[in-house]
């Protein structure tokens, strides 16, 4: 088979598209678990409380911060797409994509700090 090493797969916009897709997949897998956890409240607040205490563990807090990163990066990437698709063409795509990643990381880090 011909070479599959496509050199452009290191380009910023390609990586941005991959991050968008993978973050979406990760969020889609996470959501049912999130809903199930919240659904514990239907059995009374003690169930939800014990879950919240479980989630106080440091590793869980780090994971939660990671999830917020995924949520914000997916949203900002999606916003970039909505702008491409609905407004006149703009240059600066790569800068926007890089800024989206940066902002998401900052938000997630601030949250992480707050949680500890």
């Amino acid at each position: 088979m011909t070479t599959r090493r496509l050199a452009h797969r290191t380009s910023v916009l390609w990586v941005a598209a991959l991050v968008h897709r993978l973050s979406g997949l990760a969020l889609a897998i996470f959501l049912p678990l999130h809903f199930l956890a919240l659904g514990l409240a239907i059995r009374g607040e003690a169930q939800l409380e014990s879950f919240l205490r479980w989630s106080d563990q440091p590793l869980v807090k780090v994971a939660e911060s990671g999830l917020v990163f995924l949520l914000v990066v997916h949203m900002l990437g999606g916003l970039r797409l909505l702008l491409i698709e609905n407004l006149d063409w703009r240059d600066g795509q790569k800068e926007f994509a890089a800024a989206a990643a940066g902002i998401s990381a900052v938000v997630a880090l601030i949250l992480l700090v707050r949680m500890f």
């Binding site: 897709r21 979406g24 049912p32 809903f35 409240a41 939800l48 914000v72 949203m75 707050r114």
Partner: protein, 108 residues
């Protein structure tokens, strides 16, 4: 993806932009306060606004995620378009039910 799915996916995406911002703000608020379940439920129980906002969020997310998942399956899995569509619809349905259950759990 066709024009109908595209319109639904982009529309739910746009709808969720403010809802995601709201949700991140809620997360920030809740973590600082170190809220217990009792604190959270005291705020959400009986709240029509909460039910409306998060109910909308759940419905939009279920539609959006299902269509997105369908696209990924078509491109990255051996499933046919029909198979991917059925899997995605099932997933979307499950997400919708679980999500509305979760909203009910904290609001009722």
């Amino acid at each position: 993806m066709n024009v109908r799915l595209y319109v639904w996916q982009r529309a739910t995406a746009a709808l969720m932009l403010p809802l995601v911002l709201l949700h991140v703000a809620v997360i920030f608020y809740a973590t600082r306060r170190g809220m217990t379940a009792a604190d959270i439920l005291a705020r959400t129980r009986g709240s029509v606004v909460w039910a409306a906002l998060y109910g909308t969020f759940v419905i939009a997310a279920a539609i959006h995620a299902a269509i997105g998942l369908r696209n990924v399956l078509i491109e990255w899995s051996p499933l046919s378009e029909r198979g991917a569509g059925m899997f995605a619809m099932t997933f979307g349905g499950a997400l919708l039910l679980l999500g509305l259950y979760a909203v009910a759990a904290v609001v009722l």
